[in-house]
């Protein structure tokens, strides 16, 4: 075989071909790395082939959303500062500001702390995958909704799932293997924190044939009480496009 390549003779050729091989190896490896990191960021399994542009577009949107959320948090903090400042100017504005902060707290726009319970729901991984009833052994959106509903009914005053605050407009939905809460994907294990009377909350959950009883057949449920449970603020958007407040009836008109 050397006879074939002895035609080449020039060291020039060998040097450049080696250089090109080196560059090619580097480019191929860079490609592998980039595809791998992109797949990792999007949570796709390895070796799933070319990442289609639609998925890339999704990733871009997610990045933009993250940045915008950070901006929202900053702006909200600033607004609170201004509110505090203004409230110090006069007694009326100080009591107005107190009401404002109270309303914000009730809406879930501020973090809250208090006694309550922490409920952890997790998939039952010990069951074999491919079992006919494998649906039984994973946490579903309805499981989360049932627990949240039961907690509200039992008098919970603030609830969060995996540090997503549950507010009036929060939706809990199933998207493939993940759950979407407030539009954010999140996965098992689900840590549900609720602030309220710990005995009431735990009791309501543990009613015979109640929420927990039905779930315990398939998935793992853990309930613990706490004294200083912290629930984060709601970080989503609060824009209203269709609903308008109904004006109060004026005094003296019928």
């Amino acid at each position: 075989m050397n006879q074939v390549f002895s035609r080449l003779g020039s060291k020039n050729w060998l040097f450049h071909v080696t250089l090109m091989c080196f560059l090619l190896g580097a480019l191929l490896a860079a490609n592998l790395n980039t595809q791998g990191s992109m797949r990792q960021q999007l949570g796709l399994p390895a070796g799933s082939g070319r990442v289609p542009w639609l998925v890339e577009a999704l990733k871009e949107q997610r990045d933009t959303n993250e940045k915008l959320k950070a901006t929202i948090a900053e702006l909200r903090a600033k607004t609170e500062e201004y509110e505090q400042e203004l409230s110090q100017r006069s007694r009326e504005s100080s009591s107005l500001n107190r009401e404002l902060q109270e309303v914000k707290f009730l809406l879930g726009l501020t973090p809250a702390r208090g006694p309550g319970v922490i409920v952890t729901l997790d998939d039952n991984k010990s069951k074999r995958v491919g079992d006919i009833d494998s649906d039984l052994y994973i946490v579903h959106d309805f499981d989360l909704r049932n627990v949240v509903n039961e907690l509200w009914a039992a008098g919970a005053e603030a609830i969060s799932i995996n540090d997503h605050r549950i507010v009036a407009r929060t939706a809990i939905r199933c998207v493939g293997p993940n759950a979407m809460i407030n539009g954010e994907p999140t996965a098992a294990p689900f840590v549900i924190k609720a602030i309220g009377n710990p005995a009431d909350l735990e009791g309501a959950l543990n009613i015979p044939n109640g929420v927990v009883d039905l779930m315990r057949v398939g998935i793992k449920v853990k309930i613990e009480r706490g004294q200083f449970i912290e629930v984060p603020a709601f970080t989503g958007a609060t824009t209203v496009k269709y609903a308008k407040p109904v004006p109060l009836k004026q005094e003296g008109t019928n």
């Binding site: 075989m1 050397n2 006879q3 074939v4 390549f5 035609r7 080449l8 020039s10 020039n12 050729w13 060998l14 450049h16 071909v17 080696t18 250089l19 090109m20 091989c21 080196f22 560059l23 090619l24 190896g25 580097a26 480019l27 191929l28 490896a29 860079a30 490609n31 592998l32 790395n33 980039t34 595809q35 990191s37 992109m38 990442v51 890339e56 990733k59």
Partner: protein
Amino acid sequence: MIWLPVAGLIFGFALVLLTRWTIPGDYASYLALAALAGLDSLFGGIRAGLEGKFHTDVFVSGFVANTLLAATLAWLGDQIGVDLLLAAVVALGGRVFLNLSLIRRYWLTQAAMSRRRDVT
């Protein structure tokens, strides 16, 4: 002697793989085109060498020009909504096959010739 380019390939591959060097996801497709252009230039260079017609400037400029053209086509395709990337892929891929078959032909003919020479 043939091991040197192979060693270069493995070395370059391992170096980048281990340092986990990546580029922003937006440019991922351009990187892929550069790799394909590199592959095409490599085989072109080997074939030219076998024909005794290897010129450094043609070799280097070929890689650069092909990569730039492919990247331009890809960008243009993104703008007008037509998958021009495919044109670059098909053209470069086609050349890889062509060059490979020529290399194979030269190699086998030479090998046959040298065997004939040895026998007689």
